[in-house]
Amino acid sequence: MTGAAPSLEVVANPIEISGLVKTFGRSRALDGLDLTVAPGEVHGFLGPNGAGKSTTLRVLLGLLRVDSGSATVFGLDPWRDATEIHGRLAYVPGDVSLWPNLSGGETIDLLLRMRGVRPADTRREELLERFGLDPTKKGRAYSKGNRQKVALVAAFAAPVELLVLDEPTSGLDPLMEQVFNECLAEHRGTGTTVLLSSHILSEVERLADRVTIIREGRTVETGSLTDLRHLRRNRVRAEVSGVVPDLAAVPGVHEVVTEGRVISCSVDPVGLPALLSALDGAGVLSLTSTPPTLEELFLDAYRSTP
């Protein structure tokens, strides 16, 4: 099958992983992981330290050989077709290590050239300015945040089809995080697919279209934030004028706390109509309903799976 039309590749998911298993000696780093990243989306890849996020990314880069399951990038085998795949993506590792004797500018140009890009044709100057990075410092002299900026400038400077980012903002200050967000939005605007690993929930909540949550090498949840929220309980707080109804008996309503005429509880989507009619009957004065934060989803996902 040599004559695959480019249009087919656009339709294919940039990343498809199913049932991925990777062991290191006796420890099982990935244990049947599934992950699908659709074209053009920013996909948040969430999990605590040691959940297998970096291992997954390193499998996708063809640095690690898998024990079983399958992984494809652009429909290609990351192990066999690594070089072809890498010509179409840019990667920012979680812990950026630079060559101590190369300047930041030299490192950026080297990484671009190794991706087959001429540094002069890129946005490197503009990005250096925006990130406030001095390219003449030697690798050993950069702080963690600045090392990360070197890798980010190299990744963002030229257009790519896929950005693989491993906790890319962990060393950046809030201002630089803002610049990062802008750069990401610009790339997304041109149709770049992004796989963004993180344990910072607010960041993913802000940037990601869809989220996959993993734990101990296994996928716990995956879907759009709306989907995930839909499955989860809303927090409801209401003040009533009449007799406080007995909500504990309403199916789908949990954690009911009553303080005078103020009721707070959490409610499953199925229990919402019954809750509302009960509150309505009691003469509701005020009502707030808060969708679950990602933090709650996250903790929930962790609690509910063994």
């Binding site: 290590s97 300047s103 190794m114 003449t136 050993r140």
Partner: protein, 521 residues
């Protein structure tokens, strides 16, 4: 214990734990060399006349004196036996001190680990004190082992103790030089170059002193070993000089250390270019770029060493005035035979030194992989083959180049034909095989690459000590260096070189297959 030194003992224990392989290996190999030299010399000469003749022959050659220092008492067995050890091997003893101190001070600062340790409840001077304490322990160990080796080799106890003490002293000086150099630059590599330069410079001062102006030799710690005259009519007070110098250097270094910020150096960090050169475009160019300074230094050093050693060769012949020397030489195959044997011996020594360049290149690649830089390279459109080609090419092409330089320089120094060039190139297959095995270690697992040093040390030890200790032939035969034809003293034969080249090729093939199929990191 003062507050500034709090935690020193803990750090010493931690450092010893980290160096549990490096330290015993370094001390052990040096000790074995002393023992082998003592045993070898006492067994080599039938009577005192032969020994005197050999000692006079050494003194008669300015080049040998420049390399080993003179022999003050030609009748002394100990002085003859320790001729190489007193000055030349003292350099390796000094380097041990440099390596230990640099490893636990500047390398730690550059990596940021010193910050981690500094933030705990240890005193500000504790890391430096711990590094010096470990170096001092190693210095005492190497001194004791040298003394024991001498006594075991049948040399007088008093001289053995003085000699051992001089090695302890030179190791202390090396440690202090390392500590002072560590204050100079924020780059651990630059610190290494500075310390090597100081050691090389002191050695050179001694060489000039020993050959032309005796008093000048007092200005270099490498001249003190000879001037101690450990084996006859010793001047024990010379042994005070080493600790005094070490203390003075340490005092300056600590003062500098206290004035500077953690991680900074006396030399300001020079800014680099804002743009990368178009030539720096792939993994191969990167490997050569990162090693270019080192390779230049090696080329200059090897060329200098080659010229110096080459100039020894004709001197060996010029000492034929003495009838005793003539007898010794006749026993070794005549004048021509002796010169040729020397050319081969020099080529084989330099080949081992050159192999170190290749092993260093391989362990550096392992460091890149450990730090995650190899991952960064492989995440671009760079194949694994190219990454392996970068390290393998640098190690093999670089060391072959150095062999050529060494051969050419020796030929220039000797000034009589191209034999040294061929003798040096004849070593290439053995060097390739050792480096091929080093690459196999790297590709099995990056952490295993450091075992390349152990492999090299094992081959050299077996080759140098094996025949003296009458080890079985198969064991000695494991060393590739053992199979290099003894050209020009014997006719050149192709078979061993071709077989070793074939084996090196097989090793590269194994490394290549393995690197294609293993996890990175």
């Amino acid at each position: 214990m003062s507050v500034q030194l709090k935690g020193t003992l803990l750090l010493v224990r931690f450092a010893l734990r980290r160096d549990r392989v490096l330290l015993p290996a370094w001390v052990g190999v040096l000790g074995a060399m002393v023992a082998a030299s003592a045993v070898g010399t006492t067994g080599l000469y039938a009577d005192a006349r032969e020994r005197v003749a050999a000692a006079e022959a050494i003194n008669a050659s300015p080049a040998i004196v420049a390399l080993y220092g003179p022999i003050l008492d030609t009748a002394s067995v100990g002085e003859l036996a320790m001729a190489k050890m007193t000055v030349l091997y003292a350099v390796f003893v000094a380097f041990m001190g440099v390596v230990i101190v640099r490893r636990h001070t500047r390398v730690e600062e550059e990596s940021g680990r010193a910050e981690l340790v500094g933030a705990t409840a240890v005193g500000a001077d504790a890391p430096v004190a711990a590094a010096l304490a470990e170096a001092a322990l190693a210095a005492v160990a190497v001194g004791v082992l040298a003394a024991v080796g001498n006594v075991a080799g049948g040399l007088p106890v008093a001289g053995a103790v003085l000699f051992g003490a001089s090695w302890t002293g030179i190791a202390l000086v090396g440690a202090a030089v390392g500590l002072l150099a560590a204050q100079v630059s924020s780059s651990a590599r630059t610190v290494g170059f500075v310390a090597s330069g100081v050691i090389g410079g002191l050695y050179l001062v001694r060489a000039v002193g020993d050959t032309t102006a005796w008093w000048l030799g007092w200005a270099s710690p490498f001249g003190w070993g000879t001037r101690l005259s450990a084996w006859s009519e010793p001047r024990p007070w010379v042994l005070v000089l080493h600790p005094l110098l070490a203390a003075a250097l340490t005092f300056v270094a600590v003062a500098l250390r206290r004035r500077r910020d953690l991680g900074s150096g006396l030399l300001p960090d020079r800014p680099g270019p804002a743009h990368g050169s178009p030539r720096l475009r792939d993994a191969v160019a990167l490997a050569w770029h990162n090693q270019s300074t080192a390779l230049l230094g090696w080329t200059v050093g090897i060329a200098g060493m080659g010229v110096l050693m080459g100039s020894i060769v004709p001197d060996i012949g010029s000492m034929l005035d003495s009838a005793d020397a003539r007898a010794v030489i006749e026993a070794m195959g005549g004048l021509g035979g002796l010169q040729d044997a020397l050319v081969f011996a020099l080529a084989s020594i330099i080949a081992v030194v050159i192999t170190c360049f290749g092993i260093a290149a391989i362990t550096r690649a392992a460091g890149d992989e450990y730090a995650g830089r190899t991952e960064t390279v492989l995440a671009t459109a760079t194949t694994r083959d190219r990454v392996l080609l970068a390290v393998g090419g640098l190690a093999i092409v670089g060391s072959t180049w150095l062999l050529l330089v060494s051969g050419a320089a020796t030929a220039v120094g000797r000034g009589d034909g191209l034999d040294p060039v061929w003798a040096s190139l004849a070593q290439a297959p053995a060097v390739w095989l050792v480096l091929g095995l080093g690459l196999v270690l790297l590709t099995i697992r990056s952490r295993w690459a450091v075992a390349g040093w152990a492999l090299l040390a094992a081959f050299v030890t077996v080759g140098q000590v094996g025949e003296t200790l009458r080890l079985p032939d198969w064991l000695i035969g494991l060393s590739p260096y053992h199979h290099v034809p003894k050209y020009p003293s014997e006719a050149f034969v192709w078979t061993p070189g071709l077989v070793m080249t074939g084996l090196a090729g097989a090793a590269l093939l194994v490394a290549w297959l393995r690197f294609r199929s293993r996890d990175i990191g």
